[in-house]
Point group: C2
Chain length 226, copies 2
DNA sequence: ATTCTAATTTAGTCTAACCTAAATTATTTT
DNA sequence: AAAATAATTTAGGTTAGACTAAATTAGAAT
């Protein structure tokens, strides 16, 4: 009954969680795209996860899947591992923020609860990872995050970057070079409704304005200042 | 051609290396016992490993297996990972020496070369792990080790413990409580040829003599002093 | 040299996950 | 409302790695 979940299943649950964060259920195709496998394979797995004891997902044909309480626990456990690992790799082992994702993806499935506890303690029980993503608590509660996408910022508004929802190394290096990292302040100078480009001043001091496309501004999350 | 080896295959190669360290080839049964699987399964895998391109083992029916150069490289890579990880877990993360084995066994297959390099650097490129086992160099050369089993020590001889070849947590805790850890000095006070028990004084100071059976003394390796 | 035993191999299954191709259902457009 | 398109599911097949049971071979003992 309490068989440990395979790494594969952990990846499915994690991905279903991430796709479901904005409220809706995770579709077969979206899962297939994220996991890099054929949609037919996803269908098979969702049927299996829904039929497991206890069930890990709620699944109805053509309706996609959402996590059960059990499934969510498992997903949050993996996500906690992943984000603690990313933090550890950057903070203690000196990795750069753009190449921790892959390593954490492999490690997240194999570390023990003791390992988790020890790195959390070594890091001083951090609340967020190097990309600003909140780290679930040891009790597997996801801290609330009220940030909104940078794409919603409008001229005259100032904001602080809270998190960057990206894992592609090249993109992360690009953002780093622009100064678009968690904690940075930005002010919207201009917005073009036609292409949704946002012109930003990044940082506190006299900085050259940057024009950023929506493909990027949708992946950056902010809190508006005052 | 350069497909990455599965974790399973890595475990086979590592185990074949360990069983072959004393010269002879690794038998089907010995492998099955170590890996906790049925002998028939081992036969199948050995055939596969011998048929791989490049071949990872030399295998002849009923003769057991030895590693090819390729197979040995892969084995040493895994062993280097394992021993560096054990060292890191004990030295940096504060694990006790008796419970690092399992964790390292899971991690050894998934860490990157970058991870390996960073923990090696953080540890100052150690030569031996917490049990005294030599750590293969980054070029995958196993450092020579001239130690001999404690079971060969005879009354009047003094020795320093170099390595402890054991992974069972209960045994390791027991050895720790006896002071039988790498670096410790021992002197043989008595030897019983009938049961091969060795009576030892452990440590430098006035210590109570300990009578140790051969099941233990064969797993501890020493260098005789002067 | 023969017999016995222990080790090993063969043969045939099983499970987890994946795949492709074909069939079906849902959704959008006409 | 019907047709076209897109999403999803079904069906059938593959691979890795394990299993059991039966057959064989090697080595030891008579």
């Amino acid at each position: 009954m309490k068989e440990p979940l395979t790494q594969n299943i952990q990846d499915y649950l994690k991905t279903i969680y991430e796709l479901g964060e904005d409220g809706d259920s995770a579709s077969t195709t979206a899962l297939a795209a994220r996991l890099g496998i054929a949609p037919a394979s996803v269908t098979g797995m969702l049927q299996k996860l829904a039929a497991a004891t206890p069930p890990l997902v709620d699944y109805r044909k053509h309706q996609g899947a959402t996590l059960t309480t059990e499934g969510e626990r498992a997903a949050l456990e993996v996500i906690r591992h992943h984000r603690l690992l990313e933090t550890y790799l950057v903070t203690i082992l000196g990795y750069s923020w753009d190449n921790v994702h892959e390593e954490a993806c492999r490690l997240e499935h194999v570390i023990s609860e003791e390992f988790e506890a020890r790195i959390a303690a070594a890091l001083g029980h951090p609340q967020r990872d190097p990309h600003g993503e909140p780290i679930p608590t040891p009790e597997l509660v996801m801290p609330p995050d009220a940030s909104q996408p940078l794409s919603a910022l409008r001229p005259g508004q100032k904001a602080r970057i809270v998190r960057v929802q990206a894992s592609d190394p090249a993109l992360l290096r690009h953002l780093d070079s622009l100064g678009l990292t968690p904690g940075a302040q930005v002010e919207a100078l201009d917005y073009s409704p036609y292409d949704q480009n946002l012109t930003l001043e990044v940082g506190p001091a006299p900085a050259p304005p940057r024009v950023i496309g929506v493909a990027i501004t949708r992946q950056i999350f902010i809190e508006i200042i005052k």
